[in-house]
């Protein structure tokens, strides 16, 4: 009797199509594309818009050989530019409009594509595994590696589409086809490499937040390695995925093997991720879970303590990241002087502009980048409120005698204290790095104030995110637009030839860029006041609306 009922079932299994570790990946890919249809389009459109607008602007600003050579003279051997652009391939040997475009744009486009790929991969792997729905999906006939493969194919598709559109866009803007294709290939393969790195992070880390953190840390280290490598002319550039991407030398005697190198590395790193994935449990990281405290500590008394506890990990991550970044930037300051000595034109340029030196200009640009990172921390800290609300965790808190104002303020306060602390530590780190290498100890205090001066502006950006969430929680994610806008204005305003009123929409633009400019208090006071108003407006909105839930 038993054999009679079991046998047909076994027979049915044998007749099934053969299944392996990636069975079912096309269905998962279709699901991912459906879930991402708007997100991915926005990312691709942003990358293409950045490239095309820059391309049009560059061809207007540098139409002939004379203007290109003028640009090359000001930029070559200028560490302040090299750190934020790259080695300037072709600018000295064979200056062309294409080389100018690459110098202005290639670094930031690769960073953007890298960011896109990192967020895409963590979203569909580690963060997804934290949800119950992933188990539901995993219980259907899909293989262990199906989700990973689908995610990588998704990343490949998105990067290929973005790169293809970039190639067409640059050609349409009047640039040569060969250089455009080289740039597109570099973008696509660099994006894939970051996707693969992120896939490894997703196997190692226990949470989506941690996996994203690892991915972003790798992106930041890549940025730094190539910055140091480009300024000092050392091999460090080649340890950075971004450095390898830029190494294609688009529009300047292309080296076609660099995209191949990126692609090979991406394949190797993906293979590593697959090996790791086969060794871990579903939903778990490589690092085992520790037991917690059976009871709360004495200081765990209310919403502020909870907010601090919840933001502790993120704060520590941003703190270490920014301090590390700042120290390296500071240490590069002395290189700025040395490079300058090789470029008489530029030396003359800085000699003419009174009260400012190449070191000051370099440090001011370093502080701007640190301020943008600081704003990233500020906005993510404020949006923690949105996460707590969406996950339904806040209901239990607000069902106790805790006012909404007190709960929201606790996260704002933790973020504010975090911003000031990180700004102070970052400023000191740049200052100490610069003081040690240049021997000018006054830089320590100067850089401390330079970064602290950005705190009110960061407050405005975080305040806008807060108001958006407080009034229309669905739109909270748009809080990041302020940061993106400030980054575009801060890093590309001259390239894009933006009108003054557009530039002035960025709060960071109203901060005096110390030490290159003099100190000016009006802007800071205005922005501090604006921050207070935004917080007040947000609190009013939040106490009036319905609470969202899971």
């Amino acid at each position: 009797m038993a054999t009679a009922t079991v046998a047909p079932v076994l027979g049915a299994l044998e007749n099934q199509p053969r299944s392996g570790p990636v069975t079912g990946w096309p269905s998962i890919l279709r699901l991912q594309l459906r879930l991402d249809r708007i997100k991915s389009l926005v990312w691709i459109a942003s990358v293409v818009a950045l490239v095309v607008v820059s391309a049009i602007s560059v061809s207007e600003l540098y139409p002939d050989e004379a203007s290109v050579q003028g640009y090359a003279r000001l930029v070559s051997d200028n560490a302040a530019v090299v750190v934020q652009a790259g080695p300037g391939y072709g600018l000295q040997t064979d200056p062309s409009t294409g080389a100018v475009l690459m110098n202005e744009l290639s670094l930031w486009t690769i960073v953007l594509v890298g960011l896109m790929s990192i967020l895409l991969v963590t979203r569909h792997t580690r963060s997804e595994e934290e949800t119950e729905r992933a188990e539901l999906l995993r219980s259907t006939p899909v293989g262990r590696h199906a989700a990973g493969l689908a995610t990588m194919v998704n990343a490949l598709l998105v990067n290929v589409v973005a790169a293809g559109a970039v190639i067409l866009g640059t050609i349409a803007s009047g640039f040569g086809a060969v250089g455009s294709i080289a740039f597109g290939l570099a973008l696509c393969t660099s994006g894939l490499l970051f996707a693969a790195i992120s896939l490894v992070a997703a196997q190692v880390a226990a949470t989506g937040r941690a996996a994203t953190g690892i991915g972003l840390a790798v992106l930041a280290v890549s940025f730094l390695l190539r910055a140091i490598g480009d300024v000092t002319g050392s091999f460090l550039t080649w340890l950075s995925p971004i450095g390898i991407g830029q190494g294609v030398r688009a529009f300047a005697d292309e080296r076609w093997w660099t995209p191949v190198l990126s692609l090979g590395l991406a394949a190797g790193v993906t293979w590593l991720a697959a090996v790791l994935a086969a060794r871990r449990d579903f939903g778990a990281g490589m690092i085992p879970e520790r037991a917690g405290r059976p009871a709360a500590t004495r200081w765990m008394q209310g919403p502020f303590a909870l907010a601090l506890r919840l933001q502790r990990g993120a704060l520590l991550g941003w703190f270490c990241g920014i301090v590390f970044f700042a120290a390296f930037y500071g240490a590069l300051a002395s290189e700025a002087e040395e490079m300058l000595a090789d470029n008489p034109d530029l030396e003359q340029f800085f000699a003419l502009s009174a009260g400012s030196s190449i070191t000051d200009a370099f440090l001011a640009s370093a502080v701007l980048i640190l301020a943008l990172l600081l704003a990233g921390y500020g906005i993510s800290g404020v949006l923690r409120l949105s996460g707590e609300e969406n996950n339904g965790r806040v209901e239990a808190l607000l069902a106790t005698p805790t006012t909404r104002t007190r709960w929201a303020s606790s996260h704002l306060l933790v973020t504010a204290i975090g911003c000031v602390g990180v700004a102070a530590a970052g400023g000191l780190a740049v200052g100490i790095g610069a003081a040690v290498t240049t021997g000018d100890s006054s830089l320590v205090a100067e850089m401390l104030w330079a970064l602290l001066a950005y705190v009110p502006a960061v407050g405005v950006l975080a305040g806008v995110a807060f108001v958006l969430w407080a009034w229309v929680p669905r739109l909270a994610i748009l809080g990041w637009v302020g940061l993106v806008w400030s980054a575009v204005v801060g890093l590309l305003a001259q390239l894009l030839d933006l009108p003054d009123w557009v530039v002035s929409l960025s709060p960071l633009d109203h901060v005096p860029s110390l030490p290159a400019e003099g100190f000016e208090a009006t802007g800071l006071v205005t922005m501090a006041a604006a921050t207070v108003l935004l917080v007040a407006a947000g609190l009013v909105g939040f106490t009036r609306r319905d609470l969202g839930s899971s």
Binding site: A296, G392, E395, A399, P401
Partner: protein, 307 residues
């Protein structure tokens, strides 16, 4: 409004965009009772409870909780209310013990003896990180947090959906004790045995509207008793008798359902055929709910038989 009411709700409306969640809901919970709050999935139970907590704002309707307005007096009321959400989401890297202490302190303090007793009785390991808890264990954390600090009103939104039968029994004891101490409980649940055992009165809602409210005895009266009977002679002539449904007979055995009001009369008629054996089952809550949950719920009580 009556002072003996813990919760009074009349004509409550709430819409999310074009979706109507509550459409004139009424609810009265008397002080000191366990009130069952029932209705099919998506009928508006959780929305009502969130409004009672001031997490959502009612569009219109009369609303009073412990003599206050849940929206404007939220904080004051929350000192006297404990809540167990239907879907318990905890901070993933806090242990259960930390969550219990945190919520308890925010509510005005935890009694350590009571806390230890509850953890013991519900068999909870408080040192595990929240992300490693199962659904049932997350629910235990919320239950301990709610019961460990003093409160006058317990709002329990399907609190036992993930508990095993042993813990379910423990939960019922805890609720009985809470009421014994003079607390009021609003219990939303789908577990009918639990409702039957614990609740003094129930309110059944459907599509955001109250369809039935009263004590279990009152509700039972409006429903049918099922009867199986063995007689000396085959029963006939009952098929079309008023108040009799689903009559079936095989030789001398018959079974049917009968409205509460007609029970006496029908049994009198059967006696004429000589009763050998008779079993009757009181109306189950299940049959009561099925009728209200079904497509025509809310219609006249005994017009049709649920599937």
């Amino acid at each position: 409004m009556s002072t003996s009411s813990a919760i009074t709700v009349a004509g409550l409306h709430k819409s999310f965009g074009s979706t109507v969640a509550l459409d004139g809901l009424d609810l009265e919970v008397r002080a000191g009772e366990v009130h069952g709050f029932l209705g099919p999935n998506g009928s508006g139970k959780s929305v009502t409870i969130r409004i009672l907590l001031g997490l959502l704002r009612a569009d219109s309707g009369q609303l009073e909780v412990l003599g206050g307005d849940p929206w404007s007096d939220a904080v004051e009321l929350h000192r006297r209310i404990a809540y167990v959400p239907g879907e318990v989401n905890l901070w993933r890297n806090l242990s259960g013990g930390e969550v219990i202490d945190l919520l308890g302190r925010m509510r005005g303090g935890v009694d350590p003896v009571r806390r230890a007793e509850l953890i013991e009785r519900l068999d909870l390991d408080p040192s595990k990180k929240s992300r490693t808890y199962s659904k049932g264990n997350r629910q235990k954390v919320a239950l301990v947090a709610a019961l460990a600090s003093p409160s006058d009103l317990l709002l329990l939104d399907e609190p036992t959906a993930g508990l095993d039968p042993l813990m379910e029994a423990e939960f019922q004891d805890l609720v009985t004790e809470a009421v014994g101490e003079g607390r009021t409980v609003l219990l939303s649940s789908h577990i009918l045995a639990e409702v039957e055992k614990l609740c003094d009165r129930v309110t059944i809602i459907r599509k955001g509207r109250t369809v039935e409210s009263g004590s279990l005895g009152e509700l039972r009266h409006m429903t049918r008793t099922s009867v199986r009977v063995e007689t000396e002679r085959p029963v006939h002539g009952l098929q079309d008798a008023p108040g009799v449904y689903d009559f079936a007979s095989r030789a001398t055995e018959s079974s049917f359902e009968v409205d509460g009001e007609q029970l006496g009369e029908v049994l009198g008629r059967i006696a004429e055929f000589g009763i050998v054996a008779l079993t009757s089952q009181p109306p189950t809550l299940e049959s009561l709910f099925l009728r209200h949950y079904g497509a025509d719920g809310g219609g006249p009580p005994v017009q049709e038989r649920p599937a």
